[in-house]
C-alpha cells in the first residue's frame, strides 16, 4: 500500500532534474518575462492605451507586421523551392549549398545587417542598378523586407525538407498511374503533404521577423512613421528612460510572439500525433 502514494519511477533523478529545470527556467526566463508585464501593469489603463495607440507606435507596428508578413511569404515560396531542389535533384555542390542554407542562423545579425546595407545602398553592388530604375531598397521598407527575408528563409527550408525526404514516391507514382499529369500530381498529392510543414516554416519565419533587430536596424534608415520597427522604438523609449512605455510596447509585442509560439507548438504537437497514428 505504501507504493500507492508515491508514483513509482524506475529511472533515477526525476525530482532532481525536474527541480533544477523549473528553477533555472524560472530564474532565467519566467521571472524576468513576468517582470515585464508587471512593469507594464504599473501604468494606468488610460496611459497604457495612449502609449500603445500613439501614432508613431501604431505606425511602427504596421511597418513591422507588414514587412514581416511579406518576407515570410517570399520565404515560404523560395524556402519550399530550395527544399524541393535539395531533396529531389542532384547537382554539383549540393552538399555545400545544403550547409550554406543555415548561414542566416549562424551569421550574427549585425554582420548580415551591414553586409546587406552595403549591397543595397544607392552606391552598392545591387543598389546602383535599382537606383537607375528609380527604386530605393536600402533605407526604405524594401530594405527591411530584404533583411527579414535573409534571416527567415532557413526556417521554411528546414521545416519542409524533412517532410519531402520522408515522402513516399508511391503516392506520386500512384497518382501518375491514375493518369494525373505533373501539375495535378503536385497540386493534389505533394502540396497537401507539405502544407502543414510549410505553414509551420512560415509561422516560424514570421515570428522571427517580428522581433528581429540586428539585421534591420542598419538597412532600414529608422525613420519614424516610415521605417521604424517596433524593437527599435522600444530602444528609443529606453534611451529616453521611459521604462514603462518601453514595457507597454514590449508587452503587446510579447503577447503576439507568445500567441505565435503556442500556435506553432500546438500545431507541431498535433501533426506529430497525427503522424504517429497514421
Amino acid at each position: 500500500m505504501k507504493i500507492n502514494n508515491k508514483k513509482h519511477r524506475v529511472l533515477p533523478g526525476f525530482g532532481l532534474s525536474m527541480g533544477y529545470t523549473i528553477i533555472y527556467l524560472s530564474l532565467i526566463v519566467l521571472i524576468p518575462v513576468t517582470i515585464l508585464f508587471l512593469k507594464a501593469s504599473t501604468m494606468s489603463l488610460a496611459d497604457f492605451w495612449e502609449t500603445i495607440t500613439n501614432e508613431r507606435v501604431i505606425a511602427s507596428f504596421k511597418v513591422t507586421f507588414l514587412t514581416s508578413f511579406i518576407a515570410a511569404l517570399v520565404n515560404a515560396v523560395f524556402g519550399a523551392l530550395i527544399a524541393w531542389v535539395l531533396v529531389r535533384y542532384d547537382f554539383f555542390g549540393k552538399k555545400v549549398v545544403d550547409a550554406l542554407v543555415d548561414l542566416p542562423f549562424a551569421l550574427p545579425t549585425a554582420v548580415a545587417g551591414i553586409a546587406l546595407t552595403s549591397i543595397y545602398a544607392p552606391n552598392g553592388w545591387f543598389g546602383q542598378y535599382f537606383e537607375l530604375l528609380g527604386v530605393k531598397i536600402a533605407f526604405t521598407q524594401w530594405g527591411i523586407i530584404v533583411a527579414l527575408t535573409f534571416i527567415g528563409f532557413p526556417f521554411v527550408v528546414r521545416s519542409v525538407q524533412p517532410v519531402l525526404q520522408d515522402m513516399d514516391f508511391q503516392y506520386e507514382e500512384a497518382a501518375r498511374t491514375l493518369g494525373a499529369n505533373s501539375i495535378q500530381t503536385f497540386l493534389k498529392i505533394i502540396f497537401p503533404a507539405i502544407l502543414p510543414a510549410l505553414l509551420t516554416g512560415f509561422a516560424l519565419a514570421f515570428a522571427r521577423a517580428l522581433g528581429e533587430y540586428g539585421s534591420v536596424v542598419f538597412i532600414s534608415g529608422n525613420m519614424p512613421m516610415k521605417t521604424e520597427i517596433v524593437p527599435l522604438l522600444i530602444i528609443t523609449k529606453l534611451e529616453q528612460f521611459d521604462y514603462a512605455g518601453a514595457a507597454a510596447i514590449a508587452s503587446v509585442m510579447l503577447l503576439c510572439s507568445f500567441f505565435l509560439l503556442f500556435a506553432i507548438n500546438y500545431w507541431q504537437w498535433r501533426s506529430a500525433k497525427k503522424h504517429q497514428a497514421g
Binding site: M1, I3, H8, V10
Partner: protein, 368 residues
Amino acid sequence: MSIVLKGLSKTFGQFPAVKKVELEIPTGDFVALLGPSGSGKTTLLRLIAGLEGPNSGEILFNGEDFTAKSVKERKVGFVFQHYALFKHMTIFDNIAFGLKVRPRKHRPSKEAINSKVEELLKLVQLEGLGERYPSQLSGGQRQRVALARALAVEPEVLLLDEPFGALDAKVRQELRGWLRELHQKLNITTVFVTHDQEEAMEMADTVVVMNNGRIEQTGSPENVYENPVTPFVYSFLGRVNEFRGNSLENYTPYGVDKPFSDKEVGYIRPHEIGLSRTFVNNSYPAEVSHVNKVGAAVRIELRRLDTDDLFEAELSAEKYNIMGGLKRGDQLFAEFQNLVIFNGNTLRNSEFELPPSNLVLRPEEVRS
C-alpha cells in the same frame, strides 16, 4: 530463488494492464508467460524486474518483500526484447558492464573480469567476437550477447522478454534448444514472455497462460494443453474447432436432451475427431472439402452436412493411409467424443453424469 506474486495490479492511465495476479514460481523453475499481445505478460515480467512499479500487490523473492526495492537491488538478469545492447560498447564491454559498475570493494579484479567474460563468451558460443560492436552481429548473436550480459552478474532470476521475437524461424528453433540446455546447466529460476504457444510448450516446465491482464491457467505444458480450464486457453493453445448455438442442438452424447443456449461453445481439437467411412455411434455425416498433408500428419477440412459448419480433423499419415486416402467430396462420419462445452468460463461437461457410451444419434435422424 523463488518468486511469489500476491494480488499484483498495474494500470497505465485508464488501462488496467495487470489485474490482481497471483503466482508462485518455485526455485529453478522454467516458466513461460504466454498470451496474445496486450494480455499483460510483458508488464508482469517488468513488474517482477522492478522496471514498472505496481499499483497494488506484493512481490516476494525467497519469501522476502521486494515490492518497494529498486531494479538495482533486485539483482535480476533481464534480457530485453530488442536486446538493449549498449551500441557504443564492444561485445566484451557490454558483457563486462555489470561487473565494472560494482562499487570498488565488490568489483572483481581486471583479470577476473576478463576471464569471466571469456567464459561467458564461450558459454554463448561467441568466442573471439569480443572486440566487435553490436551492429556487427546478427540478430541471434546479439540475443546471445544480451543473455551473456545478463548472466555476468550471476543473477538468481533470469527474465526474458520475447527472447526470440525478432529472429527468423530457423535461428529461433536453434536458440530454443540451446536456452533450454543452458537452463538445465545453470538451473537459474527463469521466466520468459512469449506469444508463441509452440515456443512455450517446447521450452517451459510451467506455462502461465495470460489474457486481458489475468492469469487464465497455470500448469505443465501437457496439462494446460490437455485440460484447458477456460475457452480462451482452448482457443489459444493449439488448433481447435468451435461449435456454437445450432451446431450443438443435436449434440446429446450422454443420452440426455439438454438444450444448449447460444452462449455455450463446444471445443474439440482436430486430432480428437475420429473419422470413419461408416457410421459409428454419435457421429455426424461430413464431406471432405480439402486435404492437406504436412509431414507425418494429415489435416482434413470438412463440412458438416447437417449444419454446414466447417471444421478440421487431423490424422496420422498411417491412419490416413489405412483409410485409403481421402479426396474432396468424400462423405465420412465424424465422431466428436471429447467435445468440451463451456458456458462463458464455466465448464458444462460435469453436468452430464451419464457415461459417454449411451449414444443415441442415428444417421437417419441427422440426414433428415
